[in-house]
Amino acid sequence: MSDAAVRAVAVSKIYGEGGTRVVALDDVTADFGRGAFTAIMGPSGSGKSTLMHCLAGLDSVTSGQVFVGDTEVNGLDDKRLTVLRRDRIGFVFQSFNLVPTLTAMENITLPLDLAGRSPDRAWLDTVIDTVGLRDRLNHRPSELSGGQQQRVACARAMAGRPEVIFADEPTGNLDSRASAEILGFLRQTVDQVGQTIIMVTHDPVSAAYADRALFLADGRIVDEVEDPNAETVLTRMKRFDAPADRQG
């Protein structure tokens, strides 16, 4: 077993054909270490979201291989992909992260309920206390603030002890205080229980919470920074002055 929780091997993703052909990912190879918090950075259109979608089995790759643990993701059928996402991956999205008809608690246990698994009570308690939602469990998303909703989303991602959590701009819709809270939880989970997290962001401050930052431009990994802080990341980002918005 390799040390990486998630691996991308020579992954390419091409949309369209002929004149409309767009290379979103161009021969990307990367390892995402177990228990590490990795940020994928890049300007818009760099392919960072596409990379995350491919790594998480939400999108298929045109060529190359993706592994979650020892499982090769490409080639799995819809059923197995669903089970993979449900049992081994956690998601935190930028917005619309919760099911509006379910309470906070029900949202948190949703993947477990879908699998028909009963939650590990002690772990669930730990997660709930970590995100500080004990008194909000019976509220529906519409009764929670944006920050609280995102905390519920984090708790849901953690509840099933997934091998890896993918976070797609998790603080994109939040103010700076709520953002700091959310990123703090993610960091804490990595430090305390060795959770693997892969986060897509374009915000240098967010990236500073990660152990490592990968920089994407035009579908290629162009750089990587260990133990990034806001300044190093910002400096690196500034070098992407060549406009690369081929893709929304």
Binding site: D78, R86, F91, T101, L102
Partner: protein
């Protein structure tokens, strides 16, 4: 704004398609009804016009009061003596004249009754090749002597009856052997609307059909060239001024009078169909309303943007209404064509079933049909879209900038309060209406109750849908839980979808309760008031010839045979049904409990009356009763006895001799047979069957078969009504499909999220299906409950008609709930498939 409306409609054509289909179906029902009844009406016109072809003036006997659809004896008139024919022939301006003798004649060929379903079997006289005679001989020759007949071509072909063969003709009072010497057509048609015809020589026709020589049913005159109908009628009236009991009419007036009954029946049929067509259209209203409400909600930002860039409220409203109008017009046109297609199909079906020749005119598409179809399609759609349009106009421009803007909705509290009040008023009206109130009051009560339930349904959806939904999470886990929550999410949408289904199910339930109650009551009445062991009737409510009862009475092992004949008489200005019976046996066969007087009085000019009539008219045995018969005019009868109310005996019983003295009819409607002992019923049955063999139209039933037959007839009516309701149910079903499709569309991102966090496609499909089942079951439940209310109320209202037992067919009602569940499952098939196939990435990436 018009361009915007057109573009809007085109952009949303998939979402509008189901709505359009529901309108198309409703409008097709309306236009199909008009086209069909107009076509039948035109057919009648042509038939009656053909039959009297070449006739200018008709002379017929008078009657004391007019028949109006009772048929048979109710329409009895005085006969016209042959001398009138001679007088008419010699009146100036008459080129020729004929006597018509017509009546009941049933041809029996090789043991088979020659006939066309329930079409009449007619006898008439062959009166030669004159313009007034509609019959034309196509092969053979006219009847020359007694015993020779000509028959219609359609019957000859259908029953393979060759020229020159022998057959039997059953007429009033007897059965005679006939020899078929010719085949005739009606003008150019082989049949007169499916009726079979046997034409005798004039003398034999008079004796067999009218019961005496030297008389005619009518005398019909053809005018000389240049003489108009009114002029000739005036001249004939002049020359007949001294002849009593005849009336002279122009051909036009006569045809109108003759066809009136058929046209009245057709009008009733037309209204009946239209009622169900409008129920279907009404169901469609809920679907249109739902669709436009959802579309407006989905387009909140787009409409707000319009407002922000300068569109006025009216313009936004006009855009939505315009879109509705466009959908309405297109659907109206399609519905019109659909209806014409359905009518064409039904016409072909009628032709196919009857063997052709019945519907002799093409499809009648009147301007009225076109106008009504288009107006119904358009107006209904616009009216249903008004509320959503008004709501669209209320969207503030600022909504364009905000992500989370939702349209404010009128408080459910006001709607609930209004609904509760409406429901209570409706229930009170219905409740008091059924105990002697008017039909109008009952109708308004039922309608208000319906309005009330619709208004309350969003509120009811919470406990009921929530209650039904409670088992879902237990059985189906998260899918079930989400399905329940989704169904509860938009109470108005759920309620409108369920209400559409509720209408059909409520009416279905009402009809089923009525049918079950009528069956139960009829069975109880048969048990209580039929003492006969065997009951003989003719197929299709046809008549039983007079001699049959006499032949049966001669069989050994018979305790009594009672003949029943129907007729009308006037008592104190109101028209009453009477029954002529065999006096000595009626007490046995009808279990008649005579409380004063006796049945033997019926041998004289007496009348037996039921208890209720005796009470209301303050009559007792020996009192005179002044009555009027259509044929014989005013008479005085003596009250010979009073019997306990008996639904089969009715109000007035006459002895057969009194009946025969005042009615020309000699045909029974029923013969009831009582066996001497109960232990030889099987052998008696065989003997009866032997007697009836000569008259193949007759049917022999024992008491339980008789009950079965009653039940079967009631269920036939029920099936017919339910068939008319099917379209409403189909439209309601489309409504469920529509709501689910719109909801799935609206929840694309949510479904994407669910899929992303691990919901399998199968679980998504199940979630959508279960939501549909819950909504459908909610609608079916409301419908069944409302239907039970309506049904029991209507049965209560019919108490005085002898429907005194309320019977709730629980199994059928459960079946309707199951149908509701199945409707939900099938309606969800396509939306669920779509939801399951949603591309996860596409769904969550929609920004």
């Amino acid at each position: 704004m018009f361009r915007l409306a057109v573009k809007g409609a085109l952009a949303r054509k998939l979402r509008l398609a189901l709505t359009a289909v529901s309108i198309v179906l409703g409008v097709a029902f309306v236009s199909g009804t008009y086209v069909l009844t107009d076509t039948l009406n035109a057919t009648f016109n042509q038939i009656f016009g053909n039959a009297e072809h070449g006739v200018s003036v008709v002379v017929r006997g008078t009657q004391s009061f007019g028949g109006q659809g009772g048929g048979g004896s109710a329409d009895e008139r005085n006969l016209v003596p042959d001398s009138v024919l001679q007088t008419v022939r010699h009146t100036q301006g008459v080129s020729s004249a004929i006597g018509v003798a017509d009546g009941y004649a049933q041809l029996v060929y090789q043991g088979k009754a020659v006939g066309n379903g329930s079409a009449p079997t007619l006898g008439s006289a062959w009166v030669g090749n004159v313009p007034a005679n509609p019959l034309r001989i196509v092969s053979g020759r006219p009847p020359a002597v007694t015993g020779e007949v000509v028959i219609d071509q359609h019957s000859a072909q259908k029953f393979h009856i060759p020229l020159g063969t022998g057959a039997e003709a059953i007429v009033q009072g007897q059965s005679v052997p006939v020899h078929i010497v010719g085949i005739v057509r009606f003008g150019k048609d082989s049949t007169l609307a499916g009726a079979t015809l046997t034409a005798f020589s004039p003398q034999q026709a008079q004796l067999l059909l009218l019961g005496q020589a030297g008389v005619w049913s009518t005398v019909q005159a053809t005018a000389a060239p240049g003489v108009t109908q009114p002029v000739l009628a005036a001249r004939i009236s002049q020359s007949l001024s001294s002849v009593p009991n005849v009336q002279v009419m122009t051909e036009r007036a006569y045809v109108a009078d003759q066809s009136k009954r058929f046209k009245d029946q057709l009008k009733f049929f037309n209204i009946l169909l239209l009622v169900f067509a409008f129920i279907a259209v009404f169901v469609a209203v809920f679907i249109i309303f739902n669709t436009f409400t959802v579309l407006v909600a989905q387009r909140t930002r787009e409409l707000a943007l319009l407002r922000a860039v300068g569109a006025g409220r009216r313009q936004v409203m006009a855009a939505v209404i315009g879109e509705a109008a466009l959908v309405g017009v297109v659907s109206g046109v399609l519905g019109l064509f659909g209806g014409v297609g359905v009518a064409a199909g039904l016409r072909a079906l009628i032709e196919g079933l009857s063997g052709g020749g019945l519907v002799t005119v093409g499809l009648q598409i009147h301007p009225r049909t076109v106008i009504v179809s288009l107006v119904v399609g358009t107006v209904v759609t616009i009216v249903a879209a008004i509320v959503p349009a008004v709501r669209a106009a209320r969207i503030p421009p600022v909504a364009a900038m905000r992500d989370d803007f939702t349209l404010p909705t009128a408080s459910l509290r006001r709607r609930t309060r209004l609904g509760a009040v409406t429901l209570v008023i409706g229930a009170v009206l219905l409740g008091t209406g059924v105990n002697g109130g008017s039909a109008l009051q009952i109708g308004i009560g039922a309608l208000l109750m319906f309005r009330g339930v619709v208004a309350l349904s969003p509120l009811l959806s919470r406990p009921i849908v929530g209650g039904i939904g409670r088992i879902l999470p237990r059985v189906w886990g998260v899918s079930g839980r989400l399905a329940r929550e989704n169904a509860l999410r938009s109470p108005r949408r759920t309620a409108a979808t369920a209400s559409a289904l509720m209408i059909g199910i409520a009416l279905t339930t009402t009809m089923s309760i009525m049918a079950a109650s009528i069956t139960t009551s009829a069975n109880a009445q048969i048990d209580k008031s039929v003492g006969a062991d065997f009951i003989i009737t003719a197929k299709n409510f046809g008549p039983v010839p007079d001699p049959v009862a006499g032949q049966i009475a001669k069989l050994p092992g018979i305790a009594g045979v009672t003949s029943f004949r129907n007729g009308d008489m006037k008592v104190g200005g109101s028209r009453e049904q009477i029954t002529g019976v065999t006096p000595d046996t009626v007490a046995q066969t009808l279990r008649l409990r005579v409380t004063s007087g006796s049945t033997s009085s019926l041998h004289g000019p007496a009348v037996l009356i039921n208890h209720q009539t005796a009470k209301s008219k303050h009559l007792k045995v020996g009192d005179p009763l002044h009555v009027t018969f259509a044929l014989t005019g005013p008479k005085t009868l003596t009250v010979g006895g009073v019997f306990d109310d008996n639904p089969i005996a009715g109000k007035y019983l006459l002895g057969m001799s009194t009946y025969d003295a005042n009615f020309r009819n000699r045909l029974d409607v029923v013969i009831a047979v009582k066996a001497a002992t109960a232990n030889a019923l099987n052998s008696l049955r065989a003997e009866l069957a032997q007697v009836l063999k000569a008259t193949p139209t007759l049917e022999l039933r024992d008491q339980s078969e008789f009950k079965q037959n009653q039940k079967r007839q009631i269920n036939q009516v029920l099936s017919f009504v339910l068939a008319l309701l099917v379209l409403s149910l189909v439209i309601a079903w489309l409504g469920i499909v529509n709501t689910l499709a719109l909801s799935v569309f609206e929840r694309t991102r949510e479904i994407g999220l669910l899929r992303a966090v691990g919901m399998a496609a199968g679980q998504v499909r199940r979630m959508v299906r279960l939501e549909a089942v819950v909504i459908a079951l909610f609608g079916a439940l409301l419908g069944v409950v409302l239907g039970i209310g309506y049904g029991t109320a209507l049965v209560q209202a019919l108490h005085s008609q002898g429907i005194d037992t309320t019977s709730i067919p629980v199994n059928q009602l459960i079946l309707y709930l199951v149908i509701g569940v199945l409707a939900g499952i099938t309606a969800a098939w396509w939306p669920a498939r779509r939801a399951g196939r949603l591309n996860v990435l596409g769904a969550i990436a929609t920004e």
